[in-house]
Structure formats: C-alpha cells, structure tokens
C-alpha cells in the first residue's frame, strides 16, 4: 500500500514554530578559541582564580582529545575556531536584580515560547531559570525556595556565592577528561543552572530551566549541577528551542547530578532544538553529556527525555549506581524526522550491592531520518544481586528511515541479572486503514498511534509536561500524512 506510506511521509512535514530570532543587542566574542578567550570569559563573569585554573586545565586536556566518531551519525567536521564562545544580551554591568529589570524584548521571547517568567502566571508552582545564549537572564521563585532551604540559581551565581559546593561537586561526576565534548564544555561553559537541596527537604515545586539559543554562529555550552543531600527530593525539567538558521550550531552541555543517601532526583528533558529544514539544512548539533551519581545508599536517579529536535543528537544520560540498593531509571522517547540523526541511549553502571536499573527506550523514525539506541549496562565485581531491565522499541513511519539498536552488556558479577527486550514495528497500513475507516483524520491517527507507543515514557513526565510532550510529538509529526 504505497499510497499510505506516501501519506505518512507527508504528515511529517511541518514548520518549526520556535524559529524566530529576537532582535536584541548582544555582546558577542569574535569566533575562535584559545586561552585568552577563556580568560576573557572567566573575567566577564568575575570568576575566582580557581575557576579559571579549572577551565584552563580542561582546555589543555581537550586540545589532546579526539572528537568521537563511533556514533551512528554523520555530519560535516566542526571548525571549533569558527564558533563564538560567548554571547550575552547587552545591558547594565550588573545582573538584573528582579524581573522588572529584565529587558522587555527578552521577556517577550520567553512569552512567545510559552514560558512565563512572571511568577504569577499559569505555570505557577514551577520555578524557572531562563538561559539566553550564554547567560542566565532570570530565575523565578527564588525566595519561596530559599525559605525551604533550596538553592536554585544560575551556575555563575553559584560560583560566586557557594564556591565550596561548586568546588566539591563540579566535575565530580563528569570529569573534564571524560570525553571530547565534556572537555570542551568544561573549558568554555558560560552558564547553566545550579540546584542544591539540603538534607531531608522535599523541594516544594518543580524546577525548570529553559534554554534558548538566539545569536548566530555561537555555541551554547551550559553546565547544570544538581545536588540532593540525604533524604531529599527534587524534580527538575529542562526545555530548549533555537531560531531557524541555515548554519549548524553547536550545543555541548554537561549535566551532573549527585544523589546522597536516600535522596531522589527526577530529571526530565523536553528537547526541541531547531532540527534543520526538510532538506537537512541547518539545525543544532546536540552533543551532550549527562550523568548522575547515586553515591548514597537507597538513592535514586531517574532520567526522562523527550527528544524531538536537533539535526544531530549524541546523548546518553547515565547513572553510576555506587550506593547499595540505589536505583537508576532511563525513560526515553526520541523522534527523528526528515534528515535528523539521533544516537542516544544510556549507561547504567552498577557498582553497589542490589542496585537496580530500568531502561525504557522508544525510538520513532520518520522521513529519511536515522535513529539509534545505544546503551551500556555494566556490573562491577561488587554489584552483588544487581539487576537491569531494558526494553527498547522502535517504530518506523514510512519506508525511507532507519532504526538501530546497539546494546552493550558487561558483567563482572555472576549474581547480576539482565533482561533485554527489543521490538521494531511500523505504523502499519492496516492500522491507518482501521483508524481512517472509523472517520479519524490520517494526521490524528498517526499521532494517536505514536502517542500510544510512547505511553510508558510519557507517564513518567511531570503532569504539566506530559500533555506538552504529547502535543510536541503531534507537531513534530504533522505533515507526515497528507
């Protein structure tokens, strides 16, 4: 039934709705990277000496590293000297002290994106940190959070205000030498979010960061660090968008999570960077290192990601399960369309006794895209009684896309138990015919089928965002059936 396939393929075409550019005056570095650029960046941020040293050390290390080439993606070689490593909206010397001081153009940008920075608005109950190009422009609900003892601020502020915490944990989960992109990030990271939840505190609201790339020819290198002390709990969500541009732009972030005894961190991502046009021109290169360390016993880290944007995605949110009985979870929906490429998955490193992990990955490929799941499950010698369950499902829409699964399992402990299930299916002509025969629009049918396929992952998202994620899929798929 070739006709239906054609229809399905047409459904997938739809314009990216966040592709606008904000006309705002910016201070942007000349392209290029060397020690002077890093020193200048650190200087603008008025960083202490130790921070600059840390960056330079990372930079020197990075110079000796090679860009990874093992992922199932192809892209033109990146010229790291053609990228600008810092861009910030021009404004008075000091950071805005309140929302009233934030440039109204910026506030409008976030309004267009549906992210209210005014605390009274509808997302009330969710505290937002907004990162625009290289800097954090606003963080909401700081005061009520501070009352609970929760620190929620930009990483730049944290370096100034909480240097001991930053020194102790920055790079403790993802060291500068971990990989090429993490190394680059460590040298040039400009801003990001810092969260600290003290002992016994259940963070009273969802925390979230919205990342926006605006300036042309710049890279965004954000750094996020979340620390959950003993018996604390925090749920954090990040969202990302970027303008439509013909050139590719690099986004190389590092996220580190630290969970101590009995602590829980829930980290959700809705990634909607500009994916490039339908011919594969432009789009963000999303090369990201995310890792959580379950240091304490009975701790738990849960990653949920909905990845629909970016031209190329290289991302493996992972858990190092060091504490006994600690739990790692990874729930992922990755949708690729047109010429998008994704190589994404996770690593579950079991070190402690009775550690357990769950991996649920749902890959959806449409158009001419390529979607790969890559996952490592590793059991160290001390991982007595550890277990993992992996379920990896791929859904193909049309017949010109690809899905790949690369599971790796390494076990140094005989008592460890691994289960792996994998399926590949297609949105079948029969399913489409059934839906249409009942009067349902082809577009709605595809969206319903895809949402059904992703249900197990969506139910892990915070309520407000589960709906958003469903809609996002719908939008990303629109145009794939005529």
């Amino acid at each position: 039934m070739a006709t239906t396939d054609t229809e399905v393929n047409e459904l997938i075409k739809r314009e990216y709705e966040y592709g606008f550019v904000t006309d705002i005056e910016s201070d942007t570095f000349e392209p290029g990277l060397n020690e002077d650029v890093i020193a200048r960046l650190s200087g603008i941020k008025k960083e202490p000496e130790w921070m600059l040293e840390w960056r330079l050390k990372a930079y020197r290390r990075w110079l000796e590293m090679d860009e990874p080439d093992w992922a199932h993606v192809g892209y033109p070689k990146i010229d790291y000297d053609s990228i600008s490593y810092y861009s910030a909206p021009k404004r008075p010397e000091d950071m805005p002290q309140s929302l009233d001081e934030v440039d109204p153009e910026l506030l409008k940008t976030y309004e267009k994106l549906g992210i209210p920075l005014h605390e009274r608005e509808k997302l009330a109950g969710v505290a937002v940190d907004a990162v625009f190009d290289s800097v954090s422009v606003a963080t909401t609900f700081k005061e009520p959070l501070a009352k609970a003892g929760v620190i929620f601020c930009s990483i730049s502020e944290a370096i100034q205000d909480y240097p001991e915490l930053v020194k102790k944990y920055l790079g403790s989960v993802v060291p500068a030498g971990d990989n090429f992109f993490a190394g680059l990030n460590s040298a040039v990271f400009s801003d990001g979010t810092f969260v600290y939840v003290p002992k016994g505190v259940r963070c009273p609201m969802e925390l979230s960061t919205y990342f926006r790339i605006n300036a042309a020819n710049t890279g965004q290198f954000e750094r996020t660090l979340i620390i959950a002390e003993d018996s604390s709990y925090v749920s954090y969500l990040e969202g990302c968008t970027a303008p439509m541009r013909d050139e590719n732009q690099l986004h190389a972030a590092v996220v580190e999570l630290v969970a101590l005894d009995d602590a829980q961190i829930k980290y959700s991502t809705v990634q909607n960077w500009y994916p490039g046009d339908e011919n594969g021109k432009g789009g963000i290169f999303n090369f990201v290192t995310k890792r959580g360390a379950c240091i304490g016993k009975n701790s738990k880290i849960s990653w949920t990601q909905v990845e629909t944007g970016s031209a190329v995605t290289w991302k493996y949110p992972s858990c190092v399960l060091r504490g006994d009985n600690s739990v790692g979870e990874f729930y992922s929906v990755a949708l690729t369309n047109n010429y998008q490429q994704a190589d994404t998955g996770t690593k579950m490193i079991h070190l402690g006794k009775n550690t357990s992990s769950t991996i649920i990955s749902k890959g959806i490929s449409a158009g001419k895209s390529s979607n790969a799941y890559r996952g490592l499950v590793k059991f160290g010698p001390g991982a007595e009684g550890a277990r993992n369950f992996t379920q990896c499902d791929s859904l193909l829409i049309g017949d010109r896309c690809g899905a790949h699964t690369f599971p790796y399992i390494e076990s140094k402990n005989k008592s460890a138990i691994v289960e792996h299930e994998a399926t590949t299916s297609k949105v079948s002509d029969e399913q489409m015919f059934l839906c249409r025969q009942r009067g349902i629009d082809p577009e709605q049918a595809v969206s319903m089928i895809v949402n059904g396929f992703c249900k197990e992952v969506f139910k892990e998202l915070p309520m407000e965002f589960a709906v958003e994620a469903g809609k996002l899929l719908e939008v990303s798929l629109e145009g794939s059936v005529g």
């Binding site: 249409r436 025969q437 009942r438 949402n451 059904g452």
Partner: protein, 257 residues
C-alpha cells in the same frame, strides 16, 4: 441507498472484481456468499476505500453521492462502516480513546459538539453490555490481547456506537463459537433499522440462521452469478457451489477454510 454499477477492481495489477452490479435499499439486509478467492472481501475493502485496491471501472453511490471520489475517512463520515474480518491491534492506544476519537470525528462532521470523556464513558459502557463485553476492556489497548470472539464483538460494538448508514460486515461469523455467534448476531440484529443498509459477507450459511437476510447473492470469479432470497443460502448449504458452475477446486479451497 447503495448502488454499485459494473464495478471492476484490481490489486497489484490483478483484476479481482470483474463487473459487480448491486442495489441495496435502506432497511435491507443483503448477504454475499461465495467460495474463497471469489472477491467477497475485496468488495468490502473497495467499498470502504482501502487504497491497496484500484478501482478500474464502474461506479458506486451512497444516497446518490459518488463514494469512489471520497477518501476513506470521508466515506466513514458519510456513514460507511466496515466490520473487519481481522481487526488490527494498536498497542498503547486505549479502546476508549480510539472509540471516542472516532465518535467525535463523526460528530464533528455532522456539526455536533464533541462528547467529553465522562459522557462518552457512559455511552460506551451501555453499548459494550449490548455485545456482552466487560466494560473493563474499554481501558485495554485497541484489540490488544483480545480473543477472536472479543475482536468481533468489538467490531459490532463500534457499529452500534457509530450508527452507520451502510454497515459492511466482513466474515463477522468466522472463528466464533455458537455462544459468541449468538451474541454477535444479536448485535447485528440490533443494528437493523429502516434507514440503514447492511451488507454481510459470509462463507457459511449458519450466520444467516441468526440474521435473516432479505437477499442473498453468490459471488464467484469477481461477479455476482446468482441472486435470490433467503432460500438460496439454504440451497447452497445443501448442494454446495458446484451446481452454479463454480469450479470444484475453488469449492475445495473454500471448505478448507
């Protein structure tokens, strides 16, 4: 209501329907019988708009409207309903969500307001009882893990929900035990109405003991070779298809199924 004139259709270049002529008036129930490979299922699929089949000649109108010009979903909204012989599964999509989407698509087409979840739940529960399905099944994935009998009952339930003008039932009796056959037949009989036409495709006479048709047609080699009343079906049961000049091997194939 339904008028089919000289309908020819082929799949992958092979002609299956070779000139079907059929008129069904509102309120009538017609049964199409015939050996395997005679084109019975193809006729149902073509009427519903399955794009795997190409209509090469002829015309089909429903209440004067040219069906062949309409997309599958448009035909459905005009009141064409097909109860599938092998209903497909849609994992993760609940029956309830699927059915409500379908009902609302039709309501939207008629300019009526959409039914909310609570209203629809009430209606769906009522109808599911009519075909003896536990309302708990509404929460399960579409046809997911349903037994053969449950799938068929689910199809009839959908017909009852969607209230079509033309209901085409493709081998609705296949794979049913006698109790399930009774339940499904009761459902179909509940569908009978003055303003509705029903076209039943079946292999076996036994269904017609429960749902008594007004007319019976025998399809062979892509054409209707014989039409008659209820008694034609009984005669077929007694004498097989041979006396109509239909090839032995086709008859043999049909009884194997």
């Amino acid at each position: 209501m339904l008028s089919i004139k000289n309908l020819h259709a082929s799949v992958e270049g092979k002609e299956i329907l070779k000139g079907i002529n059929l008129e069904i008036k509102a309120g009538e129930v017609h049964a199409i019988m015939g050996p395997n490979g005679s084109g019975k299922s193809t006729l149902s699929q073509v009427l519903a708009g399955n794009e795997a089949f190409e209509v090469t000649e002829g015309e089909v109108t429903l209440n004067g409207e040219n069906l062949l010009e309409l997309e599958t979903e448009e035909r459905a909204r005009e009141g064409v309903f097909l109860a599938f012989q092998y209903p497909v599964e849609i994992p993760g999509v609940s029956n309830l969500q699927f059915l409500r989407t379908a009902v609302n698509a039709l309501r939207h087409h008629r300019g009526e307001s959409e039914m909310n979840a609570a209203e629809f739940m009430k209606l769906a529960k009522e109808v599911s009882r009519q075909v003896d399905l536990d309302p708990a099944f509404l929460k399960r994935g579409v046809n997911q893990g349903f037994s053969g009998g449950e799938k068929k009952r689910n199809e009839i339930m959908q017909a009852l929900l969607l209230q079509p003008k033309l209901a085409i039932l493709d081998e609705t009796d296949s794979g049913l035990d006698i109790d399930a056959l009774q339940v499904v037949s009761n459902g179909v009989n509940a569908l009978r109405a003055k303003d509705r036409a029903i076209l039943m495709v079946t292999h076996y006479q036994r269904l017609l003991n429960h749902i008594v048709p007004d007319y019976v047609h025998v399809l062979a080699g892509g054409r209707i070779v014989k039409s008659g009343g209820r008694e034609l079906a009984l005669e077929l049961e007694e004498r097989g298809y041979g006396w109509l000049g239909i090839k032995e091997e086709e008859t043999a194939n049909s009884s194997a199924n």
